[in-house]
């Protein structure tokens, strides 16, 4: 069994975060797996699968100095993860509308009801501070495919004045 950990690092964005953290892990003998890192509202958030043959305390000793130097909060969780466990999405959902309270809960609630398992979600707030707009991309897997999700979402868009596009993801294998 390989020992996997999920490293979470969050803090004010500044240049060099990814390079410094990954260099410290490499020097400490840890291997990196899948990762998602992004700038959110001026902060930088890192979620990083890390393989390390040792206890979490030892891994923390490797990362903590560099995290501290970059003023990042660090969290380490042992996980049961493995690589090569991808689930293929078969539905893509794009949503946009005037930003207001509850928009995410309404959309994702309806998607859950439609049986969509969210594999990936990215959202942004654009527009101006007076007239913000919310934009969201979701990729997920639904047993009944895109058609069933469409039917359930249709009612929501009529009621709520948001634009929702649902498209099947028909992955080409070649």
């Amino acid at each position: 069994m390989k020992n996997w950990f999920m490293l979470t690092l969050v803090g004010k964005d500044r240049p060099g975060i990814v390079a410094k953290v990954s260099a410290a892990l490499y020097r400490g003998g840890a291997n990196l797996g899948e990762a998602s890192m992004t700038r959110l509202g001026g902060n930088f958030a890192v979620m990083l699968m890390t393989q390390y043959e040792g206890p979490p305390e030892a891994l923390e000793k490797i990362v903590a100095p560099v995290a501290g130097g970059l003023a990042l909060r660090l969290h380490i969780d042992p996980i049961e993860g493995e690589l090569h466990r991808h689930v293929e999405p078969n539905v893509r959902v794009s949503v946009y509308g005037a930003d207001r309270a509850g928009i995410v809960a309404e959309v994702t609630g309806a998607l859950a009801e439609a049986g969509l398992n969210i594999l990936d979600l990215e959202s942004d707030v654009g527009g101006s501070s007076q007239r913000p707009i919310y934009i969201m991309h979701i990729e997920g897997h639904a047993e009944g495919g895109a058609d069933k999700v469409k039917r359930i979402m249709e009612a929501l868009t009529k009621e709520k004045n948001i634009e929702v596009q649902i498209a099947p993801i028909d992955t080409l294998l070649g």
Binding site: I169, L172, G174
Partner: protein, 176 residues
């Protein structure tokens, strides 16, 4: 007839350019039969290029006819294929037998016309759209040493450029 082994990246041979076929003979047709058998041995796979099977010649087999509601030209052998026209662009998801356990979004032309020879050296012209066009472009890329990994686009930037399916067939929103 035989099922051929598939090269997988990072095998450097997948990045090389394949040579045009010059003799349309029985050994060529034997190889194409093997390539077709190899394609059939991988359920869900809609195309294969010769270099994926370790033969670096410009040969593609293609068959998207098993996909429901996808316009297609049936089962095709494309030798020395050449795109003569490409229109539109759409983002779609691709995977590859030569790149296991990874899929990604790629922008491809929506409609193409291509010229290719069949296994007897006859030149044919095909018009393709959507999924079939994507499959042909993916396979032709293999002949030039290109993988879909060379053409990945970010999900984040692909919002309204992709084909707009809308929620109800008629009332399509057209954001701009």
């Amino acid at each position: 007839m035989a099922v051929l082994d598939i090269l997988t990246y990072p095998d450097p041979r997948l990045k090389q350019t394949s040579s045009p076929v010059s003799s349309f003979d029985a050994p060529l047709r034997d190889f194409i039969a093997d390539l077709e058998e190899t394609l059939l041995a991988h359920p869900g796979c809609v195309g294969l290029a010769a270099p994926q099977a370790g033969r670096f010649e410009r040969i593609v087999v293609l068959d998207v006819s098993g996909k429901p509601q996808v316009p297609n030209n049936g089962r095709l052998t494309l030798i020395n294929p050449e795109i003569v026209r490409a229109d539109g662009s759409a983002v779609g998801r691709e995977g590859c037998l030569s790149v296991p356990d990874y899929t990604g979004n790629v922008a491809r032309a929506e409609k193409i016309a291509l010229k290719a020879f069949d296994s007897y050296g006859r030149e044919c012209l095909y018009r393709m759209e959507g999924f079939e066009a994507r499959a042909a472009l993916h396979e032709i890329d293999h002949l030039d040493g290109l993988l879909f990994l060379d053409r990945l686009v970010s999900r984040r930037n692909a919002l309204f450029r992709r084909k707009n399916y809308g929620l109800s067939g008629a009332a399509k929103t057209n954001p701009s």
